[in-house]
């Protein structure tokens, strides 16, 4: 085969991959719209805030694992304690922070040292101390460092309610977060064993929530806007249809609500993986399907809060390469589920989707860039065709993002018209500015996975303790 023939074959391969990938994305987006429409119809006849004052609201234990989170943690805890829900507790687990996290928390929330007891239902590193505040719903557990999964397990050992909700320490929560989430669960408590939800992204979550997202609009600085696009697509184009087809692949760690008995039955979160959220979601699917149990993991379209997005490219790459690594780790660890009818839609649709969109993507990205360079050097590229193809992918990607934004708008009218216009204006830039960064992050994540790197590579927080 000639050099030109090889290049042509590679171009066809990459184009075929793109067509297949976008075909799947557009199909999921269409299904997401159908599902969102059904939900809006259902919600139009329901009062979602009924649970806020109900004596029958199922209790929720919120676990906040924290490692070196002195900046935003007190605000996150305050926003949790202000949730409009009748029955919940907040368990903050200080996972052996090396900074002043515990001191800041003790000072900000007027905590006092006490002793308490643990149920010890799942293994976790030793507890060194407990702190309580005048608010009896708050318990702070100070333990030896063991990673996020271990901290969640330590929290689980102190939970007393039927549901557990693992959240990120850098998030600020909307007062209605639990009411809306539990209302969704109360519609089918027998089958819904887990739930994840949509959340926004901002540089300073507490400030964004305090000022009101609708009033200030989305953060339209390009790096944050592009992350917002990612979150929108991930929720409205992915999680919503995944939930509909019952193959939710990731109950996001920033807000993951589970039935406690299920998490305990599975032995808690696994500390063997880089991230704990995708792994637990896969394990729930695998175990419950192997045991022949009927269950669902739901997706809630309401915005439950605001998470802190990286405010520079270095931190963004660090975060996204970790996400790529954990997808690879989880998919590899669960490889017996791949295309396996025993695991229903998870095996036949879910895992193949991850293989197509996440695992193969870096491979094709490298091949595409290599082909482009080789073609450019060999003078075999028709640059007009290349430009038109780039435009085509740019518009297709913008259409996907706009579809997700439309769904959010129909759900919540989350932004002012000016904010929506600014986001729409930035969409075409995503392909040329943001996607190359993501491609690099995914490549880096894949390389680190192949090297067996399991480190968290935590990035520096935007909000520092002094500024909080």
């Amino acid at each position: 085969m000639t050099f030109e023939g090889v290049l042509r074959a590679l171009v066809f391969g990459c184009t075929g991959y793109l067509v297949l990938l976008y075909g799947v994305h557009f199909s999921l987006m269409a299904l997401g719209h159908v599902e969102s429409r059904r939900r809006r119809r259902e919600r139009s006849v329901d009062d979602p805030d009924t649970l806020a004052t109900s004596r029958f609201a199922p209790g929720v234990s919120i676990i906040v694992p924290a490692y070196n989170e002195s900046g935003g943690l007190p605000d996150a805890v305050r926003s949790l304690l202000a949730l409009e829900y009748p029955e919940f507790e907040v368990i903050v687990v200080n996972d052996g922070s090396t900074d002043e996290t515990l001191d800041v928390l003790v000072g900000a929330l007027e905590l006092v040292a006490v002793d308490a007891t643990s149920r010890d239902v799942v293994p976790a590193r030793p507890v060194e101390g407990y702190y309580r505040s005048v608010d009896p719903r708050l318990l702070v557990v100070d333990k030896v460092n063991g990673g996020k999964a271990d901290a969640l397990n330590a929290g689980l050992n102190h939970c007393r309610y039927r549901y557990v909700c693992g959240v990120d320490a850098d998030m600020a929560f909307a007062p209605t977060a639990l009411t809306r989430a539990m209302r969704e669960i109360s519609g089918d408590p027998e089958h819904i064993v887990g739930l994840t939800s949509y959340f926004e992204n901002a540089r300073d979550p507490a400030r964004a929530l305090e000022q009101g997202l609708q009033r200030v609009g989305p953060d339209t600085r390009p790096l944050f806007a592009f992350q917002t696009f990612d979150y929108l697509r991930a929720f409205f184009n992915n999680r919503t249809p995944w939930a509909r087809m019952n193959f939710m692949l990731c109950a996001a760690g920033a807000f993951q609500l589970w039935r406690r008995d299920v998490v305990e039955e599975l032995g808690g979160w696994s500390a063997e993986f880089t991230c704990e959220d995708i792994e637990l979601t896969f394990r729930v699917h695998r175990t419950l399907r192997e045991r022949g149990r009927a269950y669902r993991i739901a997706a809630l379209p309401d915005c439950v809060g605001v998470t802190e997005g990286p405010d520079n490219v270095k931190n963004l790459v660090s975060q996204r390469e970790r996400w790529q690594r954990v997808i690879l780790e989880t998919c590899w660890a669960n490889r017996r589920m791949w295309f396996n009818p025993r695991y229903g839609t998870v095996g036949l649709l879910g895992v193949p989707y991850y293989v197509l969109s996440e695992i193969l993507a870096p491979v094709f990205e490298v091949v595409a860039v290599g082909t482009l360079l080789a073609g450019g050097v060999g003078g075999l590229i028709d640059w007009r065709e290349f430009a038109v193809l780039t435009l085509l992918v740019t518009f297709a990607n913008s259409a996907l993002t706009t579809g997700a934004l439309l769904n959010l708008d129909l759900e919540a009218r989350a932004y002012r018209a000016s904010g929506v216009a600014r986001l729409l204006g930035l969409m075409p830039l995503e392909m040329v500015v943001y996607r190359p960064i993501m491609a690099w992050a995914r490549l880096k994540g894949t390389w680190r996975f192949l090297r067996g790197d399991r480190a968290w590579h935590k990035f520096e927080r935007n909000v520092k303790a002094g500024a909080a």
């Binding site: 009062d47 002793d115 007891t117 085509l392």
Partner: protein
């Protein structure tokens, strides 16, 4: 592929994006223009949803139609229809007895999630009370459980009807009955709660300890205190919380237990004494021997916590001395 066809495909993609983008302001405008939605409301006559037409999204229906429609809705296979029926019945029940009956029927026949129906019935208190009482003998334990809890709003009815449920074969119902009777506390309830401290099910023992202490206060403490060494964490915690709820008076009952033979009981007692402030009081100037016995019973973490609290309350020199003592 020719350049022209590529441009065409590109134009289609661009058009799709622009169309979706245009849909955002269009749907906003439509929502603004849309007349009130078809949520069931009573405005002089019956008003139920209609899809469209000259009635601007609503059409009046008579009461018989409305009842039949909502009854059908409650039995629907579609969840959103059942939810709509429950919400509509709840809205109508404020003024209409048949709607209230419909909700009670929905609970009794478990047509929709009982928790959801119970929430609506609870909001309508005190009107559903007498309709709920007959359901204490319902064959379904789920219905009995919710009825036992719903009757918590009606002390008189609870005393009359829920007491029998403390002997229910279902432990969930027994626990719910105890919780309800706690508010309507009586000597009979106390007697039942004390009997149930030895129930086979941990969550019944937990509720029994809360109920006993809630009714009799420190008088029940000596009966509940042994549960600080219960095999179940839930019962130990419930007993501890119940005893702590009594306040510092409970110290006289619990203090001797720090010398008990059972280490779990000693530790439970030490935790109660910590939580009622007895440890801090002793640190501020009490009998050193008593303090040391509590520390020994509680263990290293209780001792460290006490030292840390002392650091916050004492002058630096005093703190240093205290830390030297405890370490």
């Amino acid at each position: 592929m020719t350049a022209a066809s590529l441009v065409l495909v590109c134009a289609i993609a661009c058009g799709s994006w622009l169309l979706l983008a245009a849909a955002i302001p269009i749907t906003r405008l439509r929502a603004r223009r849309r007349l009130p939605t078809g949520r069931a409301e009573v405005t002089g006559g019956w008003v139920l949803p209609a899809s469209s037409g000259e009635h601007a999204g609503r059409r009046p229906v008579d009461e018989t139609d409305a009842r039949a429609l909502l009854e059908r809705g409650l039995r629907s296979d579609e969840r959103e229809v059942r939810v709509a029926a429950v919400t509509a019945l709840s809205g109508l029940a404020a003024d209409h007895e048949w709607a209230l009956d419909g909700l009670v029927e929905a609970l009794a026949s478990e047509l929709e999630t009982p928790e959801r129906v119970a929430t609506e019935l609870d909001r309508l208190a005190p009107r559903p009370g007498r309709r709920l009482a007959p359901l204490v003998g319902h064959p379904s334990e789920i219905v009995r459980f919710y009825v036992a809890r719903l009757l918590g709003r009606y002390p008189e009815l609870a005393r009359r009807h829920v007491a029998a449920l403390t002997a229910d074969p279902s432990p969930h119902v027994r626990a719910a009955a105890l919780e309800t009777l706690r508010a309507a506390g009586s000597a009979d309830t106390l007697r039942r709660a004390l009997d149930m401290l030895s129930d086979t099910q941990p969550f019944v023992r937990a509720q029994a300890s809360r109920t006993a202490v809630a009714i009799a206060g420190v008088g029940a403490a000596s009966f509940v205190a042994p549960l600080l060494a219960d095999e179940s964490w839930w019962v130990r915690e419930a007993a501890r919380e119940a005893l702590v709820g009594v306040g510092s008076d409970v110290a006289t009952v619990v203090a001797p237990l720090v010398d008990a033979g059972d280490p779990a009981l000693r530790r439970g007692a030490a935790l109660v004494l910590q939580d009622v402030g007895a440890v801090d009081a002793l640190m501020d100037g009490g009998e050193a021997g008593a303090l040391e016995r509590i520390m020994d019973a509680g263990g290293g973490r209780l001792r460290r916590a006490a030292a840390e609290r002392a650091c916050g309350r004492r002058e630096p020199d005093g703190t240093r001395m205290w830390l030297e003592q405890v370490s």
